[in-house]
């Protein structure tokens, strides 16, 4: 028990370190701007008035540590600053994009575990036969494909050729839940990589578990196959997959950005890409903080889940 508590403490400490590092890293962004940040940001329209306005807006006349302290203190109160382009508070940008992104991510996560688990168990049950070979080859192949290439091909087939689904979310606004057909392709694309990697891990774990002595013993006792598979083998097979969950979080956050750009969904990823295009540093910083913190927190959660499933495995902290 002390071992677990110690591990948890160390892991929480690492998580806190990561949070601080994300904040510092994101702040260092403005400092990394070549030369005078205001001049660099003014970019194409370097008229002195705009540079002066930027300088005041970013408080560049004050020392860096003071700005960092102010900004970090603001973050603690949920104050992300104001956009350089529109003058609107960054938090309003976040509020605008929050709904669609959370909807996409939640749908994906809800579908991810049963689909990946089901495919993995199915392949393991038919080990070496056609079903297994099919699932193994397809998951191996699709695992490597970038979301945008897969997505655009799916759009070509299902929206352009067959006309079954809308190609993008243009014209549906932020009211996505009312139009489930719009979400089919985005969620499918988001699912592609994590499902493949998890399904392969579940398959491998399941085959190992079913070949283990305890499964053979259970069979000798006459316990039905389904019960051995789902009650005894599956929890053990999930252990390596649970460790992979942490990496899946990273993929989902990246995938959301790509999928939103591809399907023109007005979520946080689109807000981020627009801000990057306009070099709207406060908005980029705010979004980076949100994405970074989500990643750190979800990673922490995934590690705890993995530790719960496989306490013997070495989870670094």
């Amino acid at each position: 028990m002390t071992g677990l508590r110690q591990w948890l403490l160390r892991r929480l400490l690492l998580g806190t370190g990561q949070l601080v590092a994300v904040v510092l890293l994101v702040f260092a962004l403005t400092e990394a701007l070549p030369g005078d940040a205001a001049v660099a940001l003014a970019g194409d329209q370097p008229d002195p008035e705009r540079i002066a306005a930027l300088r005041t807006a970013m408080h560049l006349d004050r020392p860096a540590y003071e700005r960092l302290a102010d900004w970090a203190a603001g973050l603690l109160h949920g104050d992300f600053g104001t956009s350089l382009v529109s003058g609107r508070p960054v938090s309003s940008y976040l509020a605008d994009g929050f709904g669609p992104t959370v909807l996409l991510a939640a749908l994906t996560v809800v579908l991810l575990v049963p689909v990946a688990g089901g495919l993995g168990v199915l392949a393991a049950r038919h080990e070496g036969r056609f079903t297994d070979r099919l699932i193994s080859s397809v998951t191996l192949a699709v695992y490597a494909v970038p979301e945008f290439a897969l997505g655009i091909l799916l759009v070509t087939v299902f929206a352009l050729r067959l006309g079954w689904l809308p190609p993008t979310a243009v014209g549906y606004g932020a009211d996505l839940p009312a139009h489930p057909a719009v979400l089919v392709l985005p969620v499918l694309v988001l699912l592609s990589r994590p499902v493949c990697s998890l399904a392969r891990l579940v398959r491998a774990g399941m085959i190992d578990a079913l070949a283990a002595p305890y499964a053979a013993q259970a069979r000798r006792y006459g316990i039905p196959g389904a019960r051995i598979r789902y009650a005894h083998a599956l929890p053990n097979a999930l252990a390596p997959a649970a460790q992979q969950l942490a990496r899946t979080v990273d993929w989902l956050l990246c995938g959301v950005i790509v999928v939103e750009a591809l399907f023109v969904i007005p979520g946080l990823g689109t807000v981020l890409m627009n801000a990057v295009a306009e070099r709207d540093v406060p908005v980029i910083q705010g979004l980076a903080i949100v994405f970074g913190l989500t990643a750190v927190v979800l990673n922490l959660g995934a590690d705890v889940v993995a530790h719960r499933f496989a306490p013997r495995a070495l989870v670094a902290a």
Binding site: A21, A144, F148, I152, T156, A204, A211, R247, V276, A306
Partner: protein
């Protein structure tokens, strides 16, 4: 943090690998990767001079794959567009190892705990930031070119590669042979590179293959999002992005580069997988006693 970027656990054993080598798997992998790879490497030689620009998104008129969003010949863009993807990915992988290898080896072989912590702990922290987000963050400020993109992709791969190298090298460094070398008074270089580095080579080759898949993914995705490329660059990922607006009029300008990217990434992954499975079979009879059986995490006949 538990798992590295491309799906292999820190021990370096690839879980995403089917252990059984089937004849013909190389053939399938080579078939899939063949067309995009040949186009990427040799395409620029056959591209020829740019013709006059035609109207945007047209079909026919001497352009057998049509024209793109600014009226250029799509086939010529396809011939030119593979090289940046492949070269950037290879450069990024090489760069990542150039930094991760010394980092991992030094922290595995040092006996000073503070040095190891100093080298490895910061990497744990960077590992927490989603890789694409890190790339976008830097790109927003610095507007990098293709070289910058390679550096960025290498940067996000360093923590993970260094961890795997450290774990593998630490195992090799704890063997009695290293103790013997040390007692013989061999130089640090001889031990680190001559013995530990060489013992770790197998795991590193595995990791490099798996990492190349991940790097290709990142390079293509970043280019699609407009990082490190000109807005009208001849690059398959950029072509997919820029010609999307004409998807309904002229799908070839999008579908051809998208298919080539799919072929490239799938082919690399299948090739790595087939190579690993074949080598696994070759290595298996002479397995070292320290290795676990069923290292690939899957049963095999």
């Amino acid at each position: 943090m538990t798992t590295p970027a491309t799906g292999a656990p820190p021990t370096g054993a690839p879980p995403l690998v089917t252990a059984r080598a089937r004849p013909g798997r190389f053939a399938v992998a080579l078939l899939i990767i063949g067309v995009p790879l040949v186009l990427a490497l040799l395409g620029p030689l056959f591209a020829g001079e740019a013709g006059p620009r035609a109207a945007s998104f047209t079909l026919g008129g001497g352009h057998w794959a049509g024209t793109d969003f600014v009226g250029r010949d799509v086939w010529r863009q396809v011939l030119l567009g593979g090289r940046p993807v492949v070269v950037t990915a290879l450069a990024a992988t090489a760069l990542a190892y150039a930094v991760a290898l010394p980092l991992g080896l030094i922290s595995a072989l040092t006996h000073r705990t503070w040095l190891e912590e100093l080298l490895m702990r910061p990497l744990d922290v960077v590992l927490a930031v989603p890789s694409l987000l890190l790339i976008l963050l830097v790109a927003a400020v610095l507007a990098p070119g293709p070289m910058g993109l390679a550096l960025l992709v290498a940067l996000v791969n360093i923590p993970d590669a260094a961890r795997i190298i450290r774990a593998t090298a630490a195992e090799a460094a704890s063997r009695p042979a290293v103790e013997a070398l040390r007692m013989q008074g061999e130089t640090w270089w001889r031990m680190a590179v001559g013995y530990v580095g060489r013992s770790a080579l197998r795991t590193l080759a595995t990791d490099a293959g798996v990492r190349l898949t991940g790097v290709l993914y990142l390079v293509a995705t970043a280019a699609f999002l407009g990082v490190g490329v000109e807005p009208d660059a001849a690059d398959w990922a950029v072509m997919v992005d820029r010609n999307r607006t004409g998807l309904f009029v002229q799908p070839w300008a999008v579908v051809v580069p998208a298919l080539l990217i799919v072929g490239l990434t799938v082919g690399v992954n299948l090739l790595v997988d087939a190579a690993l499975a074949t080598r696994e079979r070759r290595v298996r009879p002479g397995r070292k006693p320290g290795e676990k059986p069923g290292e690939m995490g899957e049963s095999s006949p």
